[in-house]
């Protein structure tokens, strides 16, 4: 039901301009410029990376279901994309689902936060019982290191730390839909009590594994949002966020970062392509990616003021984000790279306006 709702929403936003694969990449959080850019342009950034283990077959199955129900139909020209139908829009309006995602924003943060939380709870509840031989639920050297450091400070005071953590979680979870709170708690592992696997959660709640995963992700994103907004009220949970940032640059691919540094030292696109032994098109991709994140991106270096206006007008006329459509409406000398930069800039500005 939740995956169905999200897919239908994606199809609605994409409006036949992208295929089902692009939704797959979006939900999986593929680290490609195209995917990140699509997330922005089509205002689907909240869903970016919310289900990193999703399988293409599951998405295809739900898509077929939507098709059979008449909520989407094949795009007239491009057989592999879909458009939402009237009944589809009605269905979406009738079914509101209570979930909360900030996918792109919490892309890295949510995993680390969750791993730290799971492992610290397991460690403290065990050490409180003097059990030091347990199999850690999380295997990640960085998280283990972090937990060790906290453990050193908390040792001997486990009970009071856990009570404070309990109080904070209780306050936050109380504001959640009951089912979501329950799923969050069911995943926790403590002394002699291992959390449920996704399959078990799905079975218990009579939902699909994908939905169980999505509800769980939603609960993490909600917690992050609450804690970030009020770190004073939630000192213990804030601890789990130490050293993690939402910093935009941290979301840019490493390769694009390198390009960015060279750009800042005054290299031209050609020079960067030459020194990095990459194609110019790749460097262009990097620049578009950077443009999506940097508020002070110097777009005029690449697109003149009046070219920008022309492209923006074309976008409005075309009522589409398809590059071909836009290109056919602007002067010959304007290239795809310039159009993509303007689209990126527009997406960034719109998001801030929201």
């Amino acid at each position: 039901m939740i995956l169905k709702w999200i897919l239908l929403t994606c199809y609605k936003h994409l409006n036949g301009e992208r295929t089902t694969s692009s939704i797959f990449h979006l939900l999986k959080g593929k680290r490609s410029i195209q995917t990140v850019q699509d997330a922005h342009i089509y205002k689907l950034d909240q869903y970016y990376g919310i289900h990193k283990r999703i399988k293409k077959v599951d998405i295809d199955a739900v898509t077929q279901e939507l098709l059979r129900a008449g909520y989407i139909q094949h795009h007239a020209v491009n057989e592999s994309s879909f458009i939402i139908t009237g009944p589809g829009i009605e269905w979406l309006e009738k079914h509101t689902i209570d979930i909360f995602f900030k996918g792109l924003m919490y892309y890295e943060k949510s995993d680390v936060f969750l791993d730290r939380l799971l492992l610290l709870i397991q460690t403290l509840t065990n050490s409180k019982e003097n059990n030091f031989s347990f199999i850690p639920i999380v295997e990640n050297p960085k998280v283990e290191f972090w937990v060790k450091q906290i453990y050193r400070k908390v040792k001997g005071k486990e009970a009071s730390f856990l009570r404070n953590l309990y109080n904070e979680l209780h306050i936050i979870l109380n504001q959640f839909p009951d089912k979501e709170a329950e799923i969050f708690v069911d995943r926790l592992t403590a002394y002699k009590n291992f959390g449920l696997s996704l399959f078990q959660l799905a079975e218990k709640h009579q939902i699909t594994e994908d939905d169980a995963h999505l509800v769980h992700t939603s609960s993490i994103h909600r917690i992050l949002e609450k804690v970030e907004n009020d770190s004073i009220e939630f000192p213990v949970l804030s601890l789990f966020l130490k050293g993690l940032s939402n910093e935009m640059m941290s979301q840019i691919t490493i390769s694009a970062k390198e390009t960015y540094q060279l750009l800042q030292s005054g290299y031209t696109i050609e020079q960067i392509a030459f020194t990095r032994r990459l194609r110019e098109n790749t460097i262009n991709d990097h620049i578009v990616e950077i443009a999506l994140y940097l508020d002070d991106f110097p777009i005029w270096n690449y697109v003149k003021e009046q070219e920008q206006t022309e492209i923006l007008q074309a976008i409005n006329q075309a009522k589409s984000h398809k590059l071909k459509e836009i290109k056919s409406r602007v002067s010959e000398h304007i290239n795809y790279f310039q159009i993509r930069l303007v689209l990126a800039m527009q997406a960034r500005l719109q998001k801030q306006g929201d």
Binding site: Y166, H170, K192, F194
Partner: protein, 515 residues
């Protein structure tokens, strides 16, 4: 005499056990004295202590070769959980960074688990050659023997590796090895003077039952009936992942009280770990699993082991039922057989090794590369994808092609004139291997249909005599379910739907105060 006292003290100091189990001390003494040893000890008897203790007592590094990466990772985790820090593993599943970390810290470890493929890599061998290797352990040593049930070609290269490492002391361990497999192990390792320590593998506390039924439906009915009578830790073994999943779902629908889960190698590692740990902590009653479950899991009170499909050989069967009743209390093995099952195992055997059509595809592919003057791709996965074969099939072929001098690492080194003969002989090897497995399967089926005592016929090819059953013997000697009254274990439903109570219970502990 002096030494014995010391050994016991060391055992207690490092592992908190007060005495050795049968066989452990004899093996450890020989190993410490630099003797090469072949140890055959039944599952659950504590084979790992036989190298873990020497690894702390001996100076230098103990290397353990283990066929299954998941097993290796489990072992390392368990040791680390018991504060055994100087241990690491090297396998092809680790990313380069993790591997480098282990390699850079190599001198700090006492105990290193390595997968046999990695020993083929020159830089790893170079590194190991510089270290002092005090003990070389081959776990699941039956994999060496081409007559063993889990034949792994990369195990055949071990004798060369051992030589390159300067002939350290060898300890080969297995839970199931017939006398002919034992001989094969010794001769492949080229150590004719190896000392054999062979201990009986029969389990007097397990009763054996074979139930011949008409179809799947009846199997399910039987299982439901048993599980509604007996609430005991139970493993149900399947040959197919799908069936394991489906039956698990069915059972949890039919038996609301009983906590059922499934387990197979196709699951995410983290999910596998969760299921294992829940079973260990008595949160689950029943696991529907494939042979992937059980290795390295030591739960003392598994009471009932059901085989839903026919295992391919007695060896696997013996290993799987060996997971029941490690505490010595009365436990039951039940094998469900229906005539419809007969085709499934033969098909599985046929698909394990490449068939003729695969061979000719490989031939053409190599020919194509040869003509273009190209090497094989670096990534094994890429080759497997191009040839559309699985990892095991490709590993087998790679070994054969290397052995026959057609390829060396990624290079094609022979001219095509010789290939025809080589492929012929590879095809013969496959045929004889399949034949061997068919025979093994026939043995298994013969056991199922045996009218004599099942216990005696099960063990007769492994040991000269088996001991009396402690409890009921077998379905041919008059087993009756009515007389089997194991202690019922109650898996408290630890997950209830009120999250407030649940959260409190997890973080603060059981408290009587109502909120």
């Amino acid at each position: 005499m002096d030494k014995e006292i010391v050994l016991e003290k060391e055992l207690e100091k490092h592992f908190q056990f007060t005495s050795f189990r049968e066989g452990q001390k004899e093996i450890i003494q020989d190993v410490l004295n630099g003797k090469n040893v072949l140890g055959i000890l039944p599952t659950g008897s504590g084979k790992s202590i036989c190298y873990q203790l020497p690894s702390v007592l001996l100076e230098g590094l103990t290397i353990v070769i283990s066929p299954l990466i998941s097993l290796m990772i489990d072992q390392v985790k368990k040791l680390k959980a018991h504060n055994f820090k100087k241990v690491a593993s090297l396998n092809s599943f680790m990313n380069p960074m993790e591997r480098r970390r282990v390699i850079n810290n190599m001198h700090q470890y006492n105990l290193l688990f390595v997968s046999p493929e990695l020993l083929q890599q020159e830089h790893i061998m170079k590194l190991l050659q510089r270290l002092q290797i005090s003990l070389f352990v081959i776990d699941e040593a039956h994999c060496i023997s081409q007559w063993g049930h889990e034949f792994r070609p990369d195990y055949l290269r071990l004798s060369g590796i051992i030589e390159k490492l300067g002939n350290p002391t060898i300890l080969a361990l297995s839970a199931t090895a017939t006398p002919s497999v034992q001989d094969d192990i010794i001769s492949s390792l080229k150590k004719p003077k190896m000392r054999k320590h062979v201990y009986p593998m029969d389990k007097p506390n397990i009763s054996f039952c074979v139930d011949k039924l008409e179809n799947e439906q009846e199997k399910i009915e039987k299982i439901v009936e048993l599980l509604s009578t007996y609430r005991v830790p139970t493993l149900i073994y399947f040959s197919s992942r799908n069936t394991a999943e489906n039956v698990a779902k069915l059972l949890s629908e039919k038996l609301k009280e009983v906590q059922v889960a499934f387990y197979h190698a196709g699951m995410e590692p983290s999910d596998r770990m969760i299921i294992q740990q829940q079973y260990m902590n008595d949160q689950l009653d029943v696991i529907c699993c494939t042979s992937a479950f059980g290795m390295g899991i030591d739960k003392a009170n598994t009471r009932l082991i059901i085989h839903y499909h026919v295992p391919l050989q007695l060896e696997s069967f013996i290993q799987e039922i060996g997971r029941a009743g490690r505490d010595g209390k009365s436990s039951v093995s039940l094998l469900l057989f229906s005539r419809q099952d007969i085709n499934m195992p033969s098909n599985m055997i046929k698909n394990e090794l490449p068939g003729q059509s695969v061979l000719s595809i490989v031939y053409q592919y190599l020919h194509h590369l040869y003509n273009e003057g190209k090497d094989l791709p670096d990534e094994e996965v890429e080759i497997e994808n191009i040839l559309q074969i699985n990892e095991i099939q490709w590993r087998f072929l790679r070994y054969q092609l290397e052995k026959h001098g057609i390829i060396k690492e990624n290079k094609i080194i022979a001219t095509p004139e010789t290939w025809k003969d080589v492929f012929q002989s590879i095809f013969h090897i496959i045929k004889s291997r399949n034949k061997h497995k068919e025979n093994k399967l026939a043995e298994m089926l013969k056991w199922i249909h045996d009218d004599n005592c099942l216990r005696q016929s099960l063990y007769k090819s492994f040991q000269p005599f088996s001991s009396q059953a402690t409890y009921q013997c077998c379905s041919n000697c008059g087993f009756s379910w009515n007389e089997w009254v194991p202690e019922q274990t109650v898996t408290e439903v630890k997950r209830q739907s009120n999250w407030q109570i649940q959260l409190k219970r997890l973080l603060i502990g059981d408290t009587n105060e109502t909120k």
